[in-house]
Structure formats: structure tokens, C-alpha cells
């Protein structure tokens, strides 16, 4: 008997230790950081409470019956059935409970949908597999891509605290401002979701849907794409930095400076080495998801770049595909709207000179600028 108590004590200690070790276990919605998210949080708590209450009453009765009304304790079956009063009662009561819950839920729906009087507007575009942000009032535009290194995903390096929830260029908004979001997508349906703000809105190619949030306090909030969008659906996180008004102004100024420098590159001429070096970065951020870092693609799904007819063929045709896209219906979209002339020139040059491709030629920003204007028909003539 004593040993049993000892064993129970040890088990208890193990349980207590595991509880402290498992401090990360989350049982409920993420801590809300906006009014809407807070209301959703309370709505969920309310309905959970109602469900648990009903569950305990109904199944309390069932388990009472399972214990007391069993044949092995000699219970003889009663033979009652059909009772209109009881049946009406158990139809009406749930109905009343439902009406009681529908009312607060409807209020939140209406609040969520009210996108009027925004302080600022940001257009968000989903791509396979990254997010594009356009600050319509400030004229700031950038892309936001997964920043977790490949080695951490493959397990050859230790994983960071924010594994898979880190991006190279986060969205930045000022605290306490109503931010209206115009959400769309470029290729397939994506869904922009930040749990702490209570915003989840599908981006639908060809259509714009809107949503809004007003962040309560300064901090970093993370979310993920919530609609299956192909191979790297699990690898396009969202990071929103909520900052003070002054920090936000400084960030906008810095973004504008970077944009000017990038625009200046479009008028320059580079040597092959410089282009290959810049192109590798562009390739990793935009092309490697499908064509793979080693240029081998995925047989049957995404074509290889290494030794491909395009990357080792006429340069005009190569430029044309990168600018305007591949065959219709394939995942290869044109990058005309997404990359600058300098970036496209760099990535084309990289693809022609990386791996076993030793073409030695280079595309210059001026070539890309020329290709943008209806080079679709001009490409074969360049041969």
C-alpha cells in the first residue's frame, strides 16, 4: 500500500514538472490585439461555455442511465415512447439559446465588415509564395518573403524561435490607426490572416476584397497564409510590425530612399560578374521555390533551369518568358510587375551562367526595358 502511495507521489511530481515544461501549450485563441479580435475572443468563450454546459447536462443524464439502467443490475425496460410535450420543449429551448447567441455574433459581423473612415489604406497581393504590399497613400511598395533559411527547414541547422514565421521585409503600420486592407491575389487564391487582429480575408485573383484592423499596442504580430495555394503554402508567413507614429514616418522615408536607389540601377550597365552576383539573390527569392536552388526543378511539375532550352537558348526568348510569363495555364507568371529592369537583367544573366550553364552572355536593364513594351512578337526575330 505504501509503495502505491509513493508511486502516486512520483507520478504527481512528473506531472507537475511536465506542466511547467509545457508552458508553451496554448489552449485558446491567441491574445487579441484589436477590438474586433477581442470581441471574437469573448464570443468564442461564451459559446464554449454554453456548449460545455449543454454537454454536461445531456451526457450527465446519459451516463446516469448507462450506470443505473443496465440489465446487469437487473433494471427492467420501461416501454414509454413519444411525448409531445417533451419533444416540443427540447425543440424550443435550443432555439432560444441559439437566438441568444446569434445576436452578439451578428453585432460582431457588422463591425468586422465596416471598413469606412480609414486612416490609411494598404493593398495586399498574394503571390505563389510571398506577399506584396502597396501603401496607397505613401507610394511605398515592397514584397515580403519567408526569411527562415533552407537549412533550418531541412534540419541541418538549429531552428530559430520564430521558425517559419519570419519574413525579410515586414508590413509596418502605426499604432492606433484604422488601417483598411484591400486584398487580392495574382495567381491563385491566398488568404491573409493575422490572428491577433482578427483579420482573415481571402485574396482572390481578379477581385479586390476589403477588411480592416486597428492595432491596440506596439509589437510584432505574426500570421500565415490560410488558403491552400500550392507547394509552398506553408512557407509564406505574414509579419506585421506595429510602431509609433514617428517610427512609422521614419520607416516610410527609408523605404522611399531604397526605391530611388533601385530606380537608378535601371539606367546603369553592369558587367556579367556583377549581374550574376545580384541575380543569385533575386533567383533565391523569386525562382528557387519552383525551379530549386540547384536549378534542377521538380521533374514533371517545374522544369529544370540547368541545361534547359530556354536558359541556354537565344537570350531574347529567355528574357521574354521572365518578363511576360510562360505558356498559359502553367505556374510561370510574368515578372514585369514584380521585378525592376535591373533585377530581371540580373536574374536572367544568373540563370545563363549558373550551374552547368556557361553562356557567358548578359542581359542589361536596357534590354529588359525594351522587352517590356510588346517584345512578345519581337522575340523570335532576335534569333
Amino acid at each position: 500500500m505504501k509503495s502505491m502511495w509513493q508511486r502516486a507521489g512520483v507520478m504527481g511530481a512528473v506531472w507537475a514538472a511536465s506542466q511547467s515544461a509545457l508552458a508553451d501549450y496554448a489552449y485558446n485563441l491567441q491574445p487579441p490585439a484589436s477590438q474586433v479580435a477581442r470581441e471574437v475572443f469573448h464570443l468564442h468563450n461564451l459559446i464554449m461555455l454554453v456548449c460545455v454546459g449543454i454537454f454536461i447536462i445531456v451526457f450527465g443524464m446519459m451516463f446516469y442511465s448507462l450506470v443505473k439502467h443496465r440489465k446487469s443490475v437487473g433494471h427492467k425496460a420501461a416501454h414509454f415512447h413519444e411525448n409531445t410535450t417533451v419533444e416540443i420543449i427540447w425543440t424550443i429551448i435550443p432555439f432560444i439559446i441559439l437566438v441568444g447567441m446569434a445576436y452578439p455574433a451578428a453585432k460582431v459581423v457588422i463591425e468586422m465588415k465596416d471598413t469606412s473612415n480609414p486612416d490609411m489604406t494598404v493593398k495586399i497581393t498574394g503571390y505563389q509564395w510571398k506577399w506584396g504590399y502597396d501603401y496607397l497613400n505613401e507610394g511605398v511598395h515592397f514584397y515580403s518573403t519567408l526569411a527562415t533559411p533552407r537549412e533550418q527547414i531541412d534540419g541541418t541547422a538549429a531552428k530559430d524561435e520564430h521558425y517559419l514565421l519570419e519574413v525579410d521585409d515586414p508590413m509596418v503600420v502605426p499604432v492606433g490607426k484604422r488601417v483598411r486592407l484591400l486584398i487580392t491575389a495574382n495567381d491563385v487564391i491566398h488568404s491573409w490572416w493575422v490572428p491577433a487582429f482578427g483579420v482573415k480575408q481571402d485574396g482572390i485573383p481578379g477581385f479586390i476584397r476589403d477588411s480592416w484592423f486597428k492595432a491596440d499596442k506596439i509589437g510584432t504580430y505574426r500570421g500565415q497564409c490560410a488558403e491552400l495555394c500550392g507547394k509552398d503554402h506553408g512557407f509564406m508567413p505574414i509579419v506585421v510590425k506595429v510602431v509609433s507614429e514617428e517610427d512609422y514616418k521614419a520607416w516610410v522615408a527609408k523605404k522611399k530612399g531604397t526605391a530611388q536607389a533601385a530606380a537608378a540601377d535601371n539606367t546603369k550597365t553592369f558587367d556579367v560578374k556583377e549581374l550574376v552576383k545580384r541575380g543569385e539573390k533575386v533567383y533565391q527569392a523569386n525562382c528557387a521555390a519552383c525551379h530549386q536552388a540547384n536549378g534542377m526543378g521538380l521533374p514533371g511539375v517545374f522544369p529544370a533551369m540547368n541545361g534547359s532550352k530556354v536558359a541556354t537558348g537565344p537570350i531574347a526568348a529567355h528574357i521574354n518568358i521572365v518578363v511576360h510569363g510562360g505558356r498559359p495555364g502553367t505556374a510561370m507568371v510574368g515578372f514585369a510587375d514584380r521585378l525592376s529592369d535591373a533585377e530581371i537583367a540580373a536574374v536572367v544573366t544568373y540563370e545563363r551562367n549558373a550551374w552547368d550553364n556557361k553562356m557567358g552572355d548578359a542581359a542589361q536593364p536596357a534590354d529588359i526595358a525594351a522587352a517590356r513594351g510588346g517584345a512578345v512578337a519581337a522575340a523570335p526575330a532576335a534569333q
Binding site: L43, A105, F235, A331
Partner: protein, 526 residues
């Protein structure tokens, strides 16, 4: 008299080819019922293995076993096969075996069409599974097949569309057969309101199938022409709308959910009165509740689409109509509990599965109610909370009712009692394993883990590991079921004609095992 018997014998010999031809050419409802159930069992192990591969990859963060694209193929095929290859064929198998036995009919109304309905299924199954070996692999766009993602895929996507057409054809033919049999071939005196609940639920299910399968066929045909023939139904650049697909798909998809659960309600409504030794509490209200669920199921589809961004009015309408479904579903649960109340309960394996069904299906119903609240759904849509929800209604709901039904009727089909110890072991391992897999998924969804992702952030690790352990317990305990079924077919204690003390209905008046031909002369029901 002896002449007639002789002539009948002769006829019998001609009608019985042996070996593989017996099964290929059979028009006997019991043979076809068995074929459906075996097909379903094989597919259960196939799609179950895919689930174990998925859970293995998700055991810890990082990509260990497979490429993300193959992961997407597995989740897509797991869903398609479990729905169209396991649950639906299993219920049709039950209908084939039991509807004629329960209404006192000699066979189904259209025996040759019945043969076709079944044999189309393996063809579609081979097309689906075979696509894993095509260039680019199997479909990876999710079982919901949303464009434009579905437009991007390779040749296996076209093959999947064809397979869905064939399965739809099979379902429609099976449904016509079931409706005709029930409406025209009932024994004299068996009025509609005297029919066993299982027959009622299947009658309503068959109507749902006939109403919705053509809608699915239309949706996938539009995908096919968008993919291959230059149409732009779902392409905004050509004047189409990707969201229109979702409306059409879920107009099929939500009634489909009830197609997967109404026959389960029927099976459970047979089993609980038997082992409570007490009639079903509210027979009439059960019939009306089933019909209301079926009708309401056509008005709630867009609750699968709250995150696409609908106008306020639409959001509110679909929220209210969805919440309304809780009323008839509640009536059903209350009825089952009231049937057990003051009964004389025993707990053989069918009853254990039925009780687990009532309890766990209700958990799935409650999480459904949580998801019906549009603002909460915005947070939970496309997360593991939804995965938990539909596995509670489909695994501890539909699949457990199928197990319950097999244990209940297997003695009648084989003439042998199954091994009760083995059955109870199977039950307890399944019910514990199932909860270990799916209960933690509620927490994962609430904490913000999206579904259909092959890799996840570190804070989701612990619950994923628990779920994976549960999945292996649940998966491997199904081997016990396989062994049990095989053992029961080979031998075992002789089953009486009545089999269960409290069982009521025509199927228990025929010998065990049920002879090849039953009710050649219609029984009379008073």
C-alpha cells in the same frame, strides 16, 4: 409443387457462375453489398496509410520525409478516397444488404444496374490511385479542388475529374435503385411510417445524392473545360469568377456532409433500441428531424466560405441558417438519450460504438456550432480546428457507425458470432486512439495553426506529436477489426436467427446466415 421446386432449383444453378465470374456478374443484393463493403475496407486501409504518412511528416517541425508537393498530394487523396471510396461505398453496402431484408423485398429493384453501380467504383478508384505514378504525381490542390490552383495541375487533374464523374454516376444509379426499392417493394402492410429508421435515412440520403451529384459533375466539368478548352468560368481575366466555383462546389458539398452522416443516424437508431430493449423514443420526430436536416442542408453552403468576403447580409443569412441546423440535430441526440433512459441496457460491441457515436458526434456538432458563428469562423477557417471538427463527425461519427453496423449485422450475414473480446479491444483502442489524434487539433487550430501545411512553427510541436502517436494507435488497431471480420467469416459460435435479444424487424426473421435468396414470398407486416 415439386415441379415448381425443381424448376426453381434449375434456375438457381444457371444463376450461379463460380469464381471471379460470380462476383463480376452478380446481381444479388447480398453479394453486391459485400463487394461494396470489401471495397470500402480496402480503401480505408489505403487512405489510412496516407494519413499515417501525413502524421509522420508532422511529427516534428522541419521537412523530414517528403517534398511539400507530395504532402499536398497525400492530404488531397486522403480526403477524396475517405469520402468517395470509404464512407459512401460502406453506407451503400449496408443499403444493399439491409434495405431488402428490412422491408421484406426479394432483392433491389434494378439488380443489373446494381451490378454496374458497384463495378464502376473500382474503375474510378484505380484512376485516382494510379495518378500517383503519372508525371507530376496525383492531384495536390485539396479535395475541394478550388480553381485557379486546380487549373495549374498536370494530367492527373483531368483524370481525377473523370474519376469523380464515374463515382457520381455510380452514386446516382445506386440512389435510383434504393429509392425505387423502398417506394415500390415494401412488404404488404409496411407503410412508410412503419419503416425502420435506417431505411428512412437512406431514402432521404438517396434523394440528396440525386439532387447534388449532378451539381458536382457540373462544377468539375467547368474545371475540365477551363483547363483544356479555353473557357473562363473561373478565370477573372476572361470574365469569370473563382469564387463561383466555391458556391457551386459547396452547394453540392454541404448536402454531401449529410449524405455522409444520415445513414449513420439510421444505423445508430437501429442499434440503440435493440440494446436498450426499448422502442426508439420519438420515431416520428426522428423522421421529421432527418427530413428537416436534409432540406436545411441546401441553405447553408456558404458557411464554408465566410473568409472569401461576402456582403454583411449574406454573412448573416448563412450564419443564422447554419445555427438553425443545430435544432433538428439536437432532437436526434435527445431522442437517443431518451431511448436509453430507463431501458435495460447491455454493452455489446455494437452498442459501445453507438454510445461513443452519440457522445463524440455531439462534440463534432458543438465545434460545428462554434464554426457557425461567422466572426469566430473567420479566426478558425482553414485551421486545424476545422480538421478536428470534421474528423469528429466523420471518424467518430460516420466511421464508428459503420463499425457499429458491421458488428450488429455481421452475425446475420455470416451465421457466426464475432469474438466479443476482440471486438471490445478494437472498440477501446479506436475510441482512445481517435481522441488522442483529434482532440489536440482543436487547440492547434485555436492557437493559429493553418491546415494543409507540411511544416509548422515551433509552438505547435507538442500537440502535433501527441496527435501523431494517437494516429498510429488508431491506425494499427484497425488491423484487429480486419482479423475479427476474417475470423467471423471462417467460423465461430453459431448465431441464432434472432441474434440479439432486443432486436426488432424483418431481417431477424430470416435464418442466420441469411440465405442467398430471401423473401421470395413477401412477408405480411401487421
Amino acid at each position: 409443387m415439386s415441379d415448381a421446386a425443381h424448376a426453381h432449383d434449375d434456375h438457381g444453378h444457371h444463376a450461379h457462375p463460380t469464381g471471379i465470374m460470380r462476383w463480376l456478374t452478380t446481381t444479388n443484393h447480398k453479394d453486391i453489398g459485400s463487394l461494396y463493403l470489401w471495397f470500402s475496407l480496402i480503401m480505408l486501409f489505403t487512405a489510412g496509410s496516407m494519413a499515417l504518412l501525413i502524421r509522420s511528416e508532422l511529427f516534428e517541425p522541419g521537412m523530414q520525409l517528403m517534398h511539400p508537393d507530395f504532402f499536398n498530394q497525400l492530404t488531397t487523396m486522403h480526403g477524396l478516397i475517405m469520402i468517395f471510396g470509404v464512407i459512401m461505398p460502406a453506407f451503400t453496402g449496408f443499403a444493399n444488404w439491409q434495405v431488402p431484408l428490412m422491408i421484406g423485398a426479394p432483392d433491389m429493384a434494378f439488380p443489373r444496374m446494381n451490378n454496374w453501380s458497384f463495378w464502376l467504383l473500382p474503375v474510378a478508384g484505380i484512376m485516382l490511385l494510379g495518378s500517383f505514378w503519372l508525371p507530376g504525381g496525383a492531384v495536390a490542390g485539396g479535395w475541394t479542388m478550388y480553381p485557379p490552383l486546380f487549373i495549374q495541375g498536370g494530367v492527373s487533374y483531368d483524370l481525377t475529374i473523370l474519376a469523380i464523374h464515374i463515382m457520381g454516376l455510380s452514386s446516382i444509379m445506386g440512389s435510383i435503385n434504393i429509392i425505387t426499392t423502398i417506394l415500390n417493394m415494401r412488404a404488404p402492410g409496411l407503410t412508410l411510417m412503419k419503416m425502420p429508421m435506417f431505411v428512412w435515412t437512406w431514402l432521404i440520403t438517396a434523394y440528396l445524392l440525386i439532387a447534388t451529384m449532378p451539381v458536382l459533375a457540373g462544377a468539375v466539368t467547368m474545371l475540365l473545360t477551363d483547363r483544356n478548352f479555353g473557357t473562363h468560368f473561373f478565370n477573372a481575366a476572361g470574365g469569370g469568377d473563382p469564387v463561383m466555383f466555391q458556391h457551386i462546389f459547396w452547394f453540392f458539398g454541404h448536402p454531401e456532409v449529410y449524405i455522409l452522416i444520415l445513414p449513420a443516424f439510421g444505423i445508430i437508431s437501429q442499434i440503440i433500441p435493440t440494446f436498450s430493449r426499448k422502442p426508439l423514443f420519438g420515431y416520428a420526430s426522428m423522421v421529421y428531424a432527418t427530413a428537416s436536416i436534409a432540406i436545411l442542408s441546401f441553405t447553408v453552403w456558404a458557411h464554408h466560405m465566410f473568409a472569401v468576403g461576402m456582403p454583411v447580409a449574406a454573412q448573416l443569412f448563412f450564419m443564422f441558417s447554419t445555427m438553425l441546423i443545430a435544432v433538428p440535430t439536437g432532437v436526434k441526440v435527445f431522442n437517443w438519450v431518451a431511448t436509453m433512459w430507463k431501458g435495460s441496457l447491455t454493452f455489446e460491441t455494437p452498442m459501445l460504438f453507438a454510445i461513443a457515436f452519440v457522445c463524440l458526434f455531439t462534440i463534432g456538432g458543438f465545434s460545428g456550432l462554434v464554426l457557425a458563428m461567422a466572426p469566430v469562423d473567420i479566426q478558425l477557417q482553414d485551421t486545424y480546428y476545422v480538421v478536428a471538427h470534421f474528423h469528429y463527425v466523420l471518424v467518430s461519427g460516420a466511421l464508428f457507425s459503420i463499425f457499429a453496423g458491421i458488428y450488429y449485422w455481421l452475425p446475420k450475414w455470416t451465421g457466426h458470432m464475432y469474438n466479443e473480446t476482440l471486438g471490445k479491444t478494437h472498440f477501446w483502442l479506436s475510441v482512445i486512439g481517435m481522441n488522442i489524434v483529434f482532440f489536440p487539433m482543436h487547440f492547434l487550430g485555436l492557437a493559429g495553426m493553418p491546415r494543409r501545411i507540411p511544416d509548422y512553427a515551433l509552438q505547435f510541436t507538442e500537440f502535433n506529436q501527441i496527435a501523431t502517436v494517437g494516429a498510429f494507435i488508431f491506425g494499427f488497431s484497425q488491423l484487429i477489426f480486419l482479423v475479427l471480420v476474417l475470423k467471423t467469416i471462417k467460423g465461430g459460435a453459431k448465431a441464432s436467427d434472432q441474434v440479439w435479444e432486443g432486436a426488432q424487424g424483418l431481417e431477424w426473421t430470416v435464418p442466420s446466415p441469411a440465405p442467398y435468396h430471401t423473401f421470395e414470398t413477401a412477408p405480411v407486416v401487421k
